[in-house]
Amino acid sequence: MTASSREVYRDAVLDLLPQDDRLVCLDSDTGLFDAAAFPERYVNLGIAEHTLMGAAAGLAKSGRMPLVNTMAAFASSRANEAVKIDIALNNLPVRIAATHSGVSAGHLGPTHHALEDLAVMRTLPNMTVVVPADGPQTGTLFRQSLRVNGPVYLRLGRNATPELPEAPPVTLGLAQVLRDGADVTLAACGPYPVLAALDAADALADEGVRASVLNVHTVKPLDVATIAAHAQRSGVVVTVEEHWRNAGFGAAVAESLAEITPSLVLRVAMPDAFVPVSGGQRYLAERGGVTSAAVAAKARSALGRSPR
């Protein structure tokens, strides 16, 4: 297990703050940061997420690059109007580090799960949406995100997740091709979805089915060219995400491909329901059907129905 993406993010922030005086860390009493670590450019605004986002916009407008911390549920739903009007409409360089995304808040329950945030954030003009798949690429993508002109939503998790077993260099905006296979395309977003896709690819390989595995860590702008190239070859795409099935990552892939290439897109995602039980992130995701078995089963069923 690596560190959680939120801890990797925190360490990267503490590393970068002294080097770049544009950066100001705005917190909302999350406890992620030790206030004494860098008091000059760390401000805890308290439990006030609308003000957090509005203040980030004002601070950005006065020449800084705010790094905003809150939980994904609050960033995307509670503070959404401030994100939309104050940050996105003004195309300001705010980095929103949204922790506890998906069901990574686990037993904290549905108030703290964020299964709508990709849908919310990817529909906002000017917003870049990034979902690192493990600890190491969280640091890399966060650093790369500092070069983006407008706002960036960084979808982070609460818990340590496994490091990807195979990882070519990661570049913001470009899907990371983890496997290359002609029969089926598995496009995944987020730590456990990518691992599920890799495991499914192994299972399918045992059956003679060659799968591409794409880690689509940048949901917006979506790397349609890479996804479409694989989709055109295989005709079958299975998407995997820890997000509600409506309007999320799989929907983004489907709506893009529908305009380009005839391909069957099947979504593995959390069902259209609140999560009614306690449990850890992995348990809840698997209970919601986000499993390698589900990915492999979708691929098998699709292969018989491919437009190719």
Binding site: V24, H50, G54, A56, G58, S62
Partner: protein
């Protein structure tokens, strides 16, 4: 804050702001009449006597920041900006016309508009960010936020008010256009704001109350140095629709599309008011 001796008198600018607003409300879309008329002296005083801004260089780094949080006062802001020289008055003809940049609520593409507004309850949080930025820069700048009184029913106002005080942002000045009316009636009958001064005091703000149609009182309140470590609120007591006796202090003044006869009647009323 110092003002130059040749600064134009604010009252004359306020009269011209009202005339622009009336003319704009006689355009194809009509406009937010009442809440723009109540703002005339507030914006006139800010732009002629208080704000350090440069119409020839609207983004200069040391400028003061004005945020019109009550975005439905946009017509008054446009009028104040053109009177201050940010753009020629001819551009006001774009208001409400297809393809024009002048919308009912201010858009940041308009020279002199710092941030767009329209959804109520956003300005004070933005100001918290400006205040933090000024402090980090060690800059001698101030941020003024003009809010409607009905706007204070939004919870986000009080969230930001609390944070501003907690962060000791004494470069921040809120101005409440206290015209006591919102779309459907009196603020006090819908969601009462009183005791308003006590509320702000309890949130840690220095409170000043003025006649919002007295440029002299406004100038004094807006130029007096802050209490160190405390943000300032100026509660400006105003009349919605001020200057137009047939709509003054009436909720129906909120939005109006003036026909030809009403337009003439309104301009005549403004002229009578200016002469009295």
């Amino acid at each position: 804050m110092t003002t130059t001796i040749d600064a134009p008198p604010a009252a004359g600018t306020a009269a011209r702001i009202r005339e622009h607003v009336v003319n704009l409300c006689a355009g194809p879309e009509g406009g937010h009449l009442g809440g723009s008329m109540s703002l005339a002296e507030i914006l006139a005083t800010l732009y002629t006597r208080v704000l350090r801004v440069d119409p020839l260089d609207p983004a200069f780094p040391g400028r003061d920041v004005l945020l019109l949080s009550k975005g439905h006062g946009g017509l008054a802001l446009y009028a104040a900006l053109t009177e201050a020289g940010f753009f020629p008055a001819e551009r006001l003809a774009e208001y409400g016309r297809p393809g024009g940049e002048f919308m009912a609520h201010p858009h940041a593409e308009i020279p002199g508009v710092e941030m767009p507004s329209g959804s109520l309850g956003h300005g004070l949080a933005l100001a918290v960010g400006f205040g933090l930025g000024f402090r980090l820069d060690g800059a001698d700048r101030r941020c003024f936020v003009v809010m409607g009184d009905g706007e204070l029913q939004e919870g986000s106002v009080w969230e930001a008010a609390s944070v501003a005080a907690a962060q000791r942002l004494d470069t921040l000045v809120a101005i409440v256009d206290r015209n006591r009316l919102q779309i459907t009636g009196a603020t006090e009958t819908i969601d009462a704001l009183e005791p308003l001064a006590d509320r702000w005091s309890a949130f840690g703000w220095t409170v000043r109350q003025v006649d919002g149609h007295s440029c002299e009182e406004l100038e004094a309140a807006l130029t007096e140095p802050p209490t160190p470590g405390r943000p300032t609120v100026v509660i400006a007591h105003t009349v919605k629709g001020k200057g137009l006796p047939f709509v003054e202090d009436q909720p129906r003044s909120h939005y109006a599309k003036l026909g030809e006869r009403q337009h003439a009647k309104a301009l005549a009323a403004l002229r009578r008011g200016a002469a009295s």
